[in-house]
């Protein structure tokens, strides 16, 4: 638990609604879920952008690049000479999406 200052007028209004502490908890949970949804939607949009460029999911893309068969790598390098920049950004949004998905899930279940 941490202590946070809340403006007196907010405390007065919250007390009208019920127990101040549980009202604050509920409000914060809703706020965090809203912010998580925003970030999830942002990540989803960015991920979709790269999936359309490379016609596959990030995991499939990374696996194909790591394959012993260099045909896919040759093809990607022929069509996208700076694919590594896309890889880095794409991976970062996939990882962020997974983090926010877990956070949102935790907020809903804890």
């Amino acid at each position: 638990m941490s202590n946070v200052s809340i403006r007196n007028e907010f405390v007065e209004l919250l007390s009208v609604l019920g127990d101040v502490e549980s009202e604050v908890d509920d409000a914060l949970r809703r706020y965090l879920l809203d912010r998580a949804s925003e970030r999830l939607e942002h990540c989803r949009k960015e991920i979709r952008h790269f999936e359309q460029i490379y016609s596959r999911s990030f995991d499939d893309f990374a696996s194909a690049l790591a394959s012993e068969n260099s045909a896919f790598l040759d093809e990607v390098e022929g069509q996208h000479p700076t694919w590594e920049a896309d890889y880095n950004t794409w991976e970062t949004y996939v990882q962020e999406f997974e983090r926010w998905k877990k956070r949102a899930s935790d907020l809903l279940t804890k």
């Binding site: 970030r39 942002h42 990374a62 690049l65 790591a66 790598l73 390098e77 000479p81 700076t82 590594e84 920049a85 890889y87 880095n88 950004t89 991976e91 970062t92 990882q95 962020e96 983090r99």
Partner: protein, 134 residues
Amino acid sequence: MEEARLRPFDEIVALLLRTFSRVVIRRRDESAEVSVLEAECAYGDYRVVVSEVLAPDGRKYTYYVLDGQNALVAGFDNSPDRRAAQLRYGPTYREHIRERIPHRHDLSRQAISLTEEMTLPDWIAWLRQHIPAS
């Protein structure tokens, strides 16, 4: 303070603007947890593509120079690369296939070599020394 913390790429963008012409910021997404910057610029007749990512799993970068035919003249990055893993680890490279290994591509990607971790100021110094703006 909050404002400064959330804009980690101000110095990088300022350096790009001082160094290159026709600087276009393709993507700039900065949050407390993840920051992504992608930019394209002109360096003489060359096209320069720069990306920087700051994420919980570390810093990711690409610094590329391309010619008029869109062929890679030289490129530094630390993205996972099977060939870089083979160079560093030899026969056991598959155990390190997703590892970020700083490396450099040359000659339209016909050559690859391992490097030290690169930063934008270091790369610009390298660029000026090895590839004069045509």
